[in-house]
Symmetry: C2
Subunit: 282 residues, 2 copies
């Protein structure tokens, strides 16, 4: 089904570039649109794409069977509504956005009826951005989550599975939009809030020489793109606030046990966390 | 100065065993006392020690130029006061305890005047315990922190530097007891409290298949020895409660910015954490 399909990547950053590289290995035609001429130039020079433009080139847009948005969440709805008159009839449209509630419904409600949008979240990334860091190897250990709604066809879901296999994702699975955003609020967004807050709780530059692996592991993701993550957090605000509150309640409970020297309660918390963490061993 | 010295390890667990193995490479005589016959048997069979006993053997204790306590903090003061009558005159006594305020002063105030105690913290470990997991390679990336007081001689400090070099620690440095415990409250103990609380905030077993590296990194140390860490936390209670409070204040400030959609404040926090984290890159 995916054989001979052509792809247009809109927003050629780290993720868009990595997808382009992965698709090129299967001899798909891959096009790209990005406002940064350096990104397009780099991708053309390095054989990452077949054709590119820094503008919303109607002809290029009309050539694609599949359109993959690598845009920031704040831009994606506008871009689709401004350019959908040029989409090929029957085009499948998808994205890489890290929260789904704020984009999937809005896009599906405005999209031309002869096209289909299906939400996708590749749980992959790096602490750097830009097509020059693109590398399809980031998908090898990663999950691809598909968030279909009642507006999606089985054909579209099957197509994303095929695409995910071509890109060599470790695991491809489906969640509802609501389940996805709740899960991501805990596993990804809360962990980033914690890392940032741990880093900001002290000006600890003078402690570098004493620092072991634990602190480095917990703060690795405190290096963070402030524009993207502010958007993602705001788009999932209710879930994330709830997760922060649950975490703060738990750590406050631990603090009180420590202050009261409630040895049994402290030990029980260590036993619980040890048991639970075992499920996450690889 | 360290050449030809003999060592007695009291409490032959992961750290004690790793020290024994590291010292044997330099042809020191290494003895050990542990209440667990399996630990002593294993260490003798594998050439980790030259002699061992499951009891506080007066003769064995008297043979050692240097005594290294690998005991739990709650046991170390009692063990020294019960057995110091058998120490060789001039013996240097040291330890591996992760908090210093609760042990250094007490030991120095009860120790025989012809012996010397100097506090040492090897910032190394594994998520498993026992001499069968001992491996001196755990010291290669690690810090050795010496916490001398006005009761210590320069000779003892120099000796620990030599010992740390033989054990191939990455970095050997000195801190006061108070500085050490404050630093460890933030860099090590707070990070463990966070990992445990993140793991305990949700029963997340069903989320395993969606879990990426961030969550795994932040919860790796949630697998924790409940007996040892309860002791360590209680012995550094004031510092740790203060660190938890500072962290909770910071994460609550972030939560409020998110709830109010204070974009500028959120971005500023991400910029600060990104800048600070750069100092910790290796």
């Amino acid at each position: 089904m995916i054989k001979d399909k052509s792809f247009l990547i809109v927003g050629l950053g780290l993720l868009g570039g990595s997808i382009a590289m992965g698709l090129k290995k299967w001899n798909h035609k891959v096009y790209a649109i990005d406002i940064d001429p350096k990104a397009i130039e780099y991708a053309l020079e390095n054989g990452i794409i077949d054709r590119g433009s820094t503008e919303a080139d109607a002809q290029l847009i009309g050539m694609a069977d599949v359109i993959v948005s690598g845009l920031y969440p704040s831009l994606i709805v506008d871009w689709i509504s401004c350019n959908q008159q040029n989409f090929k009839s029957g085009a499948l449209v998808t994205d890489v956005t890290g929260v789904k509630g704020a984009v999937v419904d809005r896009i599906q409600s405005i999209l031309r009826p002869d096209c289909e949008f299906i939400g996708v979240h590749p749980m992959a990334g790096k602490e750097v951005s830009g097509v020059q860091y693109a590398d399809p190897a980031i998908f090898l250990p990663a999950n691809l989550i598909i968030t279909p709604t009642e507006k999606n066809t089985q054909q579209a879901v099957d197509f994303i599975y095929e695409m995910g296999k071509e890109l060599r994702f470790n695991n491809i699975c489906q969640l509802s939009v609501a389940e996805h955003d709740k899960m991501i609020g805990y596993l990804s967004q809360l962990t980033h809030v914690i890392a940032v807050s741990l880093m900001n709780a002290n000006d600890s530059r003078e402690l570098v020489q004493y620092t072991g692996d634990s602190f480095r592991d917990l703060t690795r993701i405190a290096k963070i793109n402030e524009h993207l993550w502010t958007e993602l957090f705001l788009l999932n605000k209710d879930n994330l606030v709830q997760q922060i509150d649950a975490f703060v309640a738990e750590i406050s409970d631990f603090r009180d046990a420590l202050e009261k020297e409630d040895v049994e309660k402290m030990k029980q918390k260590f036993i619980t966390s040890t048991e639970r963490r075992k499920y996450f061993d690889r």
